[in-house]
């Protein structure tokens, strides 16, 4: 019989249903395409309409509890435009940057140490029940404690700059609502050298693991793609502000130094009826060819240099792998992520020693406007916020392109490649499940990431024929 088949992988669980993967095979039994269905919808863009503009940063950060700071800052930057704050005070600008580095440090640490280190240290094929942070505590307590302390440090920076570890409100339209006290500064400075050392240790740990298992890791879920990120005007890695740059798979520019306010000329989103997550693409290349990757891999590939010495040294070593082209390996995401973790720690030290953080000039305003657009590099990638505000101060339009959305098509591609590499006949095997899980986690769709942080990522895979009849099913506890 000659009929297409589909395999359904439900990584976060069937009944909870945040994400679910279907692998479709052609009638020859070869992998055709993979679809990761995002099954959650909340409707922020509509319900933020009618709210007063200064509420927006506080509301939209509730999109994500893992990196709320990204949404807080991006919305605040857009509202800076609305209130005419074209240049923030040095205290406000630096407090926000410190907040963002704290966020990047905690989020990247969580992502690598809590989520990925267990895969590396316990093995991809280890029992999933122990392949999590609790298993890590039992297997390597020192590393697990280090992971907990790194995340804690980043969260303490957030608390000191935004008022609270999760859903703080430090960034407001036109500036910030607090500075950093001497006590807060000294408490953070006390441990910063340790944080830099641990971050460097993380880079070294992953580099070694990657090289030791190069054949597998460099191919796992890998493919070539375009890359989009912000860069600073001089080409440096930039997380908080900057201009948009896109590179093609050879590293040649598609566009460069694009002002955030012009994003609609360059980036659009497609929609599919089978996912609540949209599909951003580079407009000039069209939906078919214009999709791109964002996040640490895109940023390290796209920038010309990193303006902190330890991270820059690591960047140079990292780029040697590409031999003059961008690095495309999906598992290199973690390597790039750790370079950024190190960079964040170095920059936090620089900022903590800057007396501007104790300044008292916190907010500026200027000529009121009706439209604000801002772009920020969230830990997981480029984040776009676009608002229109009426003369009555109410939001009339909001458009949000969230980081993980840009990695939507890339995650589908990675799952497709993993399926090609590990699918054997009609059998759903453990290696297939494990490698799908590891590949998705390289990008870190927020939901499965957090699920895994305290438990594990259960997988439910169903093999169905074209008529939807179940041929095989495998559920992992």
């Amino acid at each position: 019989m000659n009929e297409g088949k589909k395999i359904v992988i439900n990584p976060v669980t069937r009944i909870e249903g945040h994400a679910k993967v279907t692998i479709r095979m052609d009638d020859k039994g070869k992998v055709d395409k993979a679809r990761m269905h995002i099954v959650e919808f909340r409707g922020f863009e509509r319900f933020v309409r009618g709210r007063l503009y200064w509420e927006a940063p506080v509301i939209v950060q509730r999109l994500c509890g893992i990196c709320p700071v990204s949404h807080l800052l991006c919305a605040a930057k857009a509202m800076d435009v609305i209130v005419g704050a074209d240049k923030l005070t040095p205290t406000a600008e630096k407090m926000r940057r410190l907040l963002h580095f704290g966020q990047t440090y905690q989020s990247h640490s969580l992502h690598f140490f809590h989520l990925s280190a267990p895969d590396l240290l316990l093995g991809f094929d280890a029992d999933p029940a122990i392949r999590n942070v609790i298993g890590l505590i039992h297997a390597n307590k020192d590393l697990a404690v280090q992971a907990v302390m790194m995340r804690k440090y980043g969260q303490e920076v957030i608390k000191a700059t935004a008022g609270k570890k999760i859903h703080g409100n430090g960034a407001v339209p036109g500036g910030v609502n607090k500075n950093l006290s001497i006590e807060e500064r000294d408490a953070l400075l006390k441990d910063i050298d340790q944080m830099i050392e641990w971050a460097q240790g993380g880079v070294d740990l992953y580099k070694k693991a990657y090289r030791d298992d190069y054949d597998r890791l460099s191919k796992l879920g890998s493919f070539e793609s375009n890359f989009v990120s912000l860069v600073r005007e001089d080409g440096a890695l930039e997380l908080y502000d900057g201009k948009l740059r896109a590179k093609d798979p050879d590293g040649k520019p598609i566009f460069d130094m694009v002002e955030p306010k012009d994003y609609l000329t360059y980036i659009r989103e497609g929609v599919r009826n089978w996912s609540y997550m949209k599909f951003p693409f580079i407009y000039s290349l069209g939906q078919e060819k214009g999709w791109y990757r964002v996040g640490p891999l895109a940023r390290v590939n796209n920038c010309d240099f990193i303006d902190s010495p330890l991270a820059e040294k690591e960047r140079q070593e990292f780029m040697e792998m590409g031999g003059g082209r961008p690095v495309h390996a999906t598992m290199a995401y973690h390597w790039a992520r750790l370079i950024e973790t190190l960079h964040s720690a170095e920059k936090m030290k620089e900022l903590l020693n800057d007396p501007d953080l104790q300044g008292e000039d916190l907010v500026v305003t200027g000529k009121r406007r009706n439209e604000g657009i801002a772009i920020l590099e969230a830990p997981r990638g480029t984040l776009f916020h676009h608002y229109q505000v009426g003369d009555d101060d109410r939001v009339t339009m909001a458009n949000l392109i969230v980081s993980t959305t840009s990695n939507n098509q890339p995650m589908n591609e990675s799952v497709r490649v993993v399926a090609e590499q590990y699918l054997e006949g009609n059998e759903i095997t453990e290696p297939l499940l494990n490698h799908v899980e590891v590949a998705i986690r390289a990008y870190d769709p927020c939901l499965s990431c957090a699920t895994h942080a305290i438990g594990l990522m259960p997988l439910d895979v169903t093999l169905e024929d074209a008529s939807g009849e179940v041929i095989d099913r495998k559920v992992r506890d």
Binding site: G65, P68, L264, I454, L456, D477
Partner: protein, 179 residues
């Protein structure tokens, strides 16, 4: 003696409450001495193999599947805790109750300024959404309510440790006050 079991789940929320659980920091080492996390706390209903002592629910109820999760948690957990604003009241996502679901979908998938060739997702592979976002106690009986957006790590810790030692949690004002 077997350790008590704890299960957690996330529904319509932002995962911030789960992150606040992680904000107990070093105490996570103590916690795993005290309890076993259910092996797949958010697994298929069939995978609840036995009773669980404490279930923590994050997020409101906005899909058909959320309803099933809540019912299975109620069935299997001796004590069920609604954790955080979204579970208690529907939270920020319940702002969508002020407009129709149709309007929310149209804004996201048809009318957004960056949308090209818009379509409202309707594939059978994605779950149906409820007309509104509901607090969890409107769906199942809840034993304890832990307020906050998110509840502080110290509040989660105090509530868990009290319940695990068989005591009624008594949280001082400082722990349960909002921002």
């Amino acid at each position: 003696m077997a350790k008590p079991k704890v299960a957690t789940t996330h529904m319509t929320g932002c995962f911030g409450c789960h992150m606040s659980v992680l904000d107990i920091d070093e105490r996570i080492l103590d916690l795993i001495e005290l309890v076993d996390f259910d092996k797949s706390p958010i697994d298929d209903i069939k995978k609840f193999t036995g009773p669980v002592d404490i279930g923590l629910i994050e997020g409101g109820c906005s899909t058909q599947e959320n309803v099933e999760v809540l019912r299975s948690f109620r069935k299997h957990c001796k004590i069920l805790i609604a954790m955080g604003e979204c579970a208690l009241t529907g939270g920020i996502p319940h702002l969508r109750n002020t407009v129709s679901l149709k309007e929310c979908m149209e804004e996201a998938y048809l009318n957004g300024p960056s949308v090209v060739d818009g379509v409202i997702p309707n594939d059978p592979d994605i779950p149906l959404l409820l007309d509104k976002v509901y607090p969890v106690h409107e769906v199942v009986k809840i034993d304890y309510f832990l307020p906050g957006c998110p509840p502080r790590a110290d509040a989660i810790w105090a509530a868990l440790t009290a319940l695990l030692s068989g005591k009624e949690p008594e949280l001082p004002y400082e722990l349960i006050k909002y921002d």
